[in-house]
């Protein structure tokens, strides 16, 4: 993929704060279905990293297996990518960050990849608050294997074949809040503005960012009776907050009403501005956030927005207290103790 992106160069090339054009953030040509929600998400990821001015070489892309998991090949070809095995991206991402904790990591997975086969590793990643952006491209089905229900499918949702799902959906946001992730939100592939703001904020966060993005599968789950279709989302999306983001390198003197808006200062000095749309909204209270999500589900709403943010909790990397440089490339002098150490140890074993 790395070398095949060749979109026409614009006349007066617009560039970001690094002087890079957006095409430097593009990926290989997608081979997902036309109209697949996953493609829109890839677009937003490209926009977000471009607008935040992140050096592509400083980013690692990770995924499991599925249509969604293929998408890292379709954005940011200048970033190293790792399309691993089904459901096991969390482990690979954890290892990659241990090997090089100085990089930004973004993982893209699917509802099957994460919530079916991947549930075990996913829950432990959340618990560790591993510093990465974890996006679930959630379409309620296994797209790549032709549309069977996944564990996020809603009760009563139907397949084209008429089969009806009778098991309750697993809400990854509630789960993430409870298990220890520190930046949790839900969006919709069709909601450009909200999704872009959320990903930009995610880039500024240090800790596990879990974004559950409803991303319709136009081929297998976009029909009447599906609860993950474009139509259903247009009818049932309910934003709990309006997400505004002011990057640290921009003038943050933007007006906002402290009464109705939470202003969260991110690690890099950027500001996340969350304007209440529900009075029972409080993104700093875990218990509150969980109740809000569970109630919305009972009401049959698909709540979107950022549900919970905690910028103080140490990440897994913080807990390990590692040297500043990437472990993977430390010189021999720093990882192989001198001969004297071995001799000393041997002596004490006599």
């Amino acid at each position: 993929m790395a070398t095949t992106a060749t979109p026409p160069a614009p006349k007066a090339p617009k560039t970001n704060r690094l002087g890079l054009q957006i095409l430097e953030y593009r990926g290989g040509k997608t081979n997902l279905c036309a109209g697949c929600g996953h493609n829109s998400i890839s677009e937003r990821i490209i926009d977000a990293f471009y607008e935040m001015g992140v050096q592509p070489e400083r980013v690692m892309k990770l995924s499991g297996i599925g249509c969604s998991s293929k998408s890292p090949a379709f954005f940011m070809s200048r970033s190293h990518g790792f399309n691993s095995v089904h459901g096991r991206m969390p482990a690979v991402a954890t290892g990659a960050l241990l090997g090089n904790h100085t990089m930004k990591a973004i993982g893209v997975s699917g509802d099957g990849d994460t919530v079916s086969i991947g549930m075990g590793q996913f829950t432990h990643l959340l618990r560790r608050n591993l510093p990465m952006i974890y996006i679930i491209e959630n379409n309620g089905v296994y797209g790549l294997t032709k549309g069977q229900f996944s564990a996020t499918a809603d009760i009563g949702s139907t397949l084209k074949t008429g089969v009806i799902n009778d098991l309750p959906p697993i809400d990854v946001c509630t789960l993430a809040i409870e298990l220890g992730a520190t930046f949790i939100g839900r969006s919709f592939s069709g909601d450009k503005k909200q999704l872009l703001a959320m990903i930009k904020a995610a880039i500024a966060h240090k800790g596990t960012v879990l974004l559950d993005v409803i991303s319709p599968c136009v081929t297998f789950n976009d029909h009447e009776g599906s609860t993950k279709s474009y139509k259903y989302m247009q009818e049932h999306e309910e934003a709990i907050s309006e997400v505004g983001f002011v990057p640290h390198f921009e003038d943050i003197a933007v007006e906002y009403d402290a009464g109705s808006t939470y202003d969260v200062t991110m690690h890099d000095g950027s500001h996340l501005r969350l304007r209440k749309l529900h009075d029972d909204y409080n993104p700093t209270d875990r218990i509150h956030a969980v109740s809000a999500l569970m109630e919305a589900q009972q009401r049959g709403e698909v709540l979107t927005g950022i549900f919970y943010v905690d910028t103080r909790k140490p990440s897994f990397i913080d807990l390990l207290n590692l040297v500043d440089e990437p472990l993977g490339t430390l010189p021999e002098s720093r990882v192989r103790p001198p001969q004297s150490v071995l001799e000393d140890i041997m002596k004490r074993m006599r």
Binding site: M1, A2, T3, T4, E24, Q55, P56, E57, R58, M60, L62, P72, A73, S77, R78, S79, H80, G81, F82, N83, S84, V85, R88, P90, A91, V92, A93, T94, G95, A96, L98, G99, N100, M103, G120, Q121, H124, L320, N321, L322, V323, D324, P326, L327, G328, T329, L330, E332, R334, V335, R336, P337, Q339, V341, L342, E343, I345, M346, M349, R350
Partner: protein, 616 residues
Amino acid sequence: MATGDVALNTEQPQAAAAGPTGEIVNDFSIQVATVNGSGSQSANSVLLKSLFAMGIPVSGKNLFPSNIAGLPTWYTIRASKHGYVARKKEIDIVVAMNAETAKDDVLSLPAGGVAIHEESANLQQHRDDVVFYPVPFDKITAAVCSEAKLRKLVKNMVYVGVVAQLLEMDLATVEAAVRRQFAKKQKAADLNWSAVQAGYDYAKVSLTKQDPFRVERMHATDDKIIIEGNAAAALGCMFAGVTVVTWYPITPSSSVVESLIDLLKKYRVEPDGKATFAVVQAEDELAAVGMVLGAAWTGARSMTATSGPGISLMSEFAGLGYFAEIPAVIFDIQRVGPSTGMPTRTAQGDILTVAHLSHGDTRHVMLLPGSVKECFELSIEAFDLSEQLQTPVFVMSDLDLGMNNWMTEPFQYPEKPMRRGKVLSADDLQRLDGFARYQDVDGDGIGYRTLPGTEHPKAAFFTRGSGHNERALYTERPDEYQQQMERLTRKYETARSMMPAPVLIADGTSKVGLIAYGTTDFAVVESRVQMQTEYQFETDYMRLRAYPFTREVHDFVAAHDRIYVIEQNRDAQMLSLLKLDLPAEDAVKLRSVRHFNGLPIDARSVTDELVMQEGI
């Protein structure tokens, strides 16, 4: 628990090395039978270290159950002036501290054997051809130890004293061992030492020596050390410069990582208190090996340690590592399978599975440490090979080697610097103007890789377990797929040429060659002498150290008429790999000697089998 599973030595008792008449010096085995959790480890360690300190070659084996407390446990100490360290089939002296197994323990003695036991239990009824030394352990213990709850522990030191006296051990040496054992706890040291003395005095006063076994100072251990294989492997990993360690606890591999953690905390934390390593206790083995691959992908020297069940769970990722060509060092401290099997018994039963671990046409590299020294050396080798070959390397140790104490000469500091393999820097990329990840530039089947974070617009490539071409692009083209698979075969041949050579222990004129690996070596070394001295039968011998097999292995087989492959599994697994690798005319020569009851293989079993098959 049924009484069905308490007796250990269920093999036919055999006559001891010498009859009851005439002294037997520095050549016997002691088996201490206790209850798991009764804290006999320190006592046994004191016995072992004392003999060692007297310059006598020793080896100790802990045969423990898969539970935490209450089940029978045996600790065997072998003293051998000849330096044999394999398990000795015949037990010469039993210290029967476990009432539940006492009878069976005594029955397992050969004629002329010795039984030291609690006075009250009258075991004499069971045998009239062994020497009994009844000892009132509880009474003696009570006398030296006022604190009731400590007695269970202290009692063990009493038998140390009894044994020391009966074997005429040097008491000063024993005291030194005791004090060293409890180095940081003066009170404990004193208490335990008084228990040893009490036992010693009792034996001196109340027991009359009737057996031939005793010790004499030697100098065979002068500049040697004693260490467990897993601790040695951990040392190797630290000096290999490991930076990312992941694990999920499983017997008998846990102590590899547990020892490593201690070492890293001590030697790999920088002045500012920051660590040059990361250790993660993963949620399971799938995660552990996944983390290893992720870390290695970024250039980290990463490893995990596990045993059979964990190996099975790592299958899918092992295939990814092979096909996406990512380094990884995986320790398999083998235990008895199939399935959960006998978690605290030893075996060499994962060889065949690991060689082809994962679906599809997958092949792996294995290193086969045959001593604690090699646990250290081959651990370092494993990281170098894994990064040079860009593929997972499995270090196949076992419970016997990993969790038991072994004598060894001290380890040597690695002369060679770390060999990190073919990695391109930003400068290289500038010079080359890009690269193709899976191109066989050098004809050795090994491509060049870049690490995430390399600051060059052409550094990135996409890693995947799906079909890919030279440029790491996704492909389903028949020709591109086949080309990559053939390159991987070429790479495997390169690996063959880089593997540590086998050790040719004896290549005389015999038509019969023996092949063994890992802990089987100890029994084979001794068996060859038995074959010589008892049957005037000469054998040649080669010890394998790696798979795929190097040319030397083929040559050795070619040079002999009959080859006995001796190993500790039911299905002749290494023999199978040899059969697949050797030219058919040589494969014909292979014969199998197998030992698979969970006990470490012993020389006698090997000898008997050889004698039988050779029709001597």
